[in-house]
Symmetry: C2
Subunit: 378 residues, 2 copies
């Protein structure tokens, strides 16, 4: 039986069910990020209450803290944080690339300095899968080599070919762990269609439960991102889940959904929340998302998709000082309807922790509601 059943399609857009050992997920889906064992400021119960079906854990962070030994001892991060639904873990490759000060890649793996205490740590495809196993995730990612957003063709090609070799080793390591969890391969190749095609072909030969687009949203222009995402999404196996890693703004996600991508994760809703930047609905969510998807399907510019969807507000602005309207009347998270912009602004100005909670709930629920509306449109 397949892990992925397509329910309906609308052009390239798919509505599907992805089954995991910890439950089924309706796609298209957004995965909030529980970097180090919590979605910033939220309990697992609250994450569930805003409609999250699956969350993402960062292997790099959890490897450093609390570490695989403890995770093994306590039965995994899901047990610790009391999240009973599915969890996906990345492989650590991207965080090594983006967070650690010094990292050195060789054919066997990557050596890097912990951004916490500077100690030297090594990740290989085999150790990444072992750590993901200790974390106890349901969907695991191959270890990959990530090239910066503006690299030479040679660097893109090298990283892609090495990622393919590491894909093979990841697959073997995953098989040897004898787990019910799934393993996804990651397509690399930068902004070059032919390298992306070569990467995808190689991965399909190895065979994975799902396929992810990696190495985008890492510094290249959005036009390049869209071009490559569309190109490769059209070629990815239709009967497997398609996952765009680490993107992005709401208008990007609507675009990627319009070209047939199913799974997303991004730090923006939680990170922006902590800086007082809120995604508020431009109007009734159903109408906003319908219009945004139509624009995406018609090839409208990303700014026009964004306009249909939301107003990004900086809640700390002077203008909200005495604004007694709800944080977002269209957002169905109770706190966004009960509390006023004036209160949230005050909490930010007074550096109250509650500010981060109310803003995070607003943004995470915005993203999840957007996916719910997208699914209804298929």
């Amino acid at each position: 039986m397949s892990n992925f059943e397509i329910v309906k399609t609308n052009g390239a857009v798919r509505q599907a069910v992805l089954s995991t050992q910890s439950g089924a997920i309706q796609t298209p889906v957004f995965m909030p990020i529980a970097t180090a064992g919590s979605i910033k400021t939220m309990t697992a119960e609250e994450v569930k209450a805003v409609g999250a079906q699956i969350i993402l854990g960062n292997t790099y962070h959890l490897l450093l803290r609390p570490g695989p030994e403890l995770l093994q001892e306590v039965g995994g991060i899901k047990k610790l944080m009391r999240w009973e639904g599915p969890m996906l873990t990345d492989s650590g490759g991207y965080q090594v690339f983006s967070l650690s000060k010094i990292n050195k890649t060789d054919e066997d793996g990557v050596t890097f300095q912990s951004h916490i205490d500077g100690r030297s740590i090594r990740i290989t495809p085999e150790s990444s899968l072992a750590v993901q196993h200790a974390i106890g995730s349901d969907i695991r990612m191959q270890f990959d080599d990530v090239a910066a957003g503006v690299s030479t063709r040679e660097r893109y090609e090298d990283a892609m070919l090495r990622s393919l070799r590491w894909a093979e080793r990841s697959k073997t390591a995953h098989r040897n762990l004898q787990t019910e969890s799934q393993l996804f391969g990651i397509i690399q190749g930068g902004t070059h269609e032919d390298l992306r095609d070569q990467s995808l072909d190689g991965l399909i030969k190895i065979g994975f439960d799902g396929y992810a687009i990696g190495g985008l949203s890492v510094g290249e222009s959005r036009m390049d991102t869209f071009r490559i995402a569309k190109h490769i999404a059209e070629r990815m196996p239709a009967d497997r889940p398609r996952y765009f890693m680490g993107g992005g703004m709401p208008e990007e996600i609507v675009y990627y959904v319009s070209v047939g991508i199913d799974m997303f994760d991004c730090v923006l809703p939680t990170r922006n929340a902590r800086h007082g930047q809120l995604f508020t609905w431009a109007g009734d969510p159903a109408t906003c998302v319908r219009e945004a998807l139509t624009r995406a399907q018609e090839g409208a510019a990303d700014t026009r998709i964004a306009e249909a969807l939301y107003r990004k507000i900086q809640i700390t602005n002077e203008g909200f000082t005495a604004d007694l309207s709800p944080i977002d009347p269209w957002n169905d998270t109770p706190t966004s309807q009960l509390y006023t912009k004036a209160y949230l602004r005050h909490l930010f100005k007074a550096s109250e922790y509650l500010a981060l909670r109310l803003a995070t709930l607003q943004n995470v629920r915005f993203y999840i509601r957007m996916m719910e509306e997208l699914r209804r449109l298929v």
Copy 2:
């Protein structure tokens, strides 16, 4: 009709009902501190859910931010934060004394530098009451002059006499505001019984809705604090609420209750929580509190009262790394029973905001449960 009805007594301990324009409060009562419009990390709904009946707002902080003009415009801080129950505000005197870098007291009032932006601000008895009116609290405090915990008799006497003159002016200012709120007087006089008596006599002549013990827990020895608290509590009007300002550790509160004090506030549960210091029950709360009160009534040392009540744990300690027992099995806040010490320790080590929430819920509920059990013992 009186604002204060004694239901039962047990020795000096009283169980009573304090009525305010925003509802009735069962005493003895602990008031969590909503310094700047939120009990740190918590929504008003959560504060209510842990059993808080009344919360305390800090006039000094709210004067600086968001300021009385905005508070007036939006209908007060209670409306902004959605707290519908009673609220007490201090007068700002203590915070000026403890927080502002430069403060200069003259007969008319105090001039100080804001700890936020350094601007010069002046508070007088009249302006304090005006700010408390803008905040919209139900119980307001007279503006007072606070002497440091180890002062000369002259300084204590000066501060006490000035506080009496300011009490008179506070009463007049409060009357002129024509409000249904209550006004409490503050007894000063440092560690000298005769100065305290003189202060109390002066306040009774002016006449207040309740009487508070100020200027304790400000650096003097705990033996001095207990001695003065007992001395003055026995002399305070029996038919008015008695409020000990800013104290203290659980064993202190049990002691003050044992000598007939009714109302308490303290930053310890919330502040300690943010440093990973938890008050966990020594056993079944009913038994712990009964034993602690008995010890207090028998004149036991404060350390013996504490022993009966709680274990203070530093959750970041190595020993909790793999401790899968609940944060506190005796604490009936759901998160304290659902989440493990290992998880809370990990969240603190990873600097996750959720750590502060779980620890705050534990400590605030500990204090409130302690008061519930004390009321049951009367």
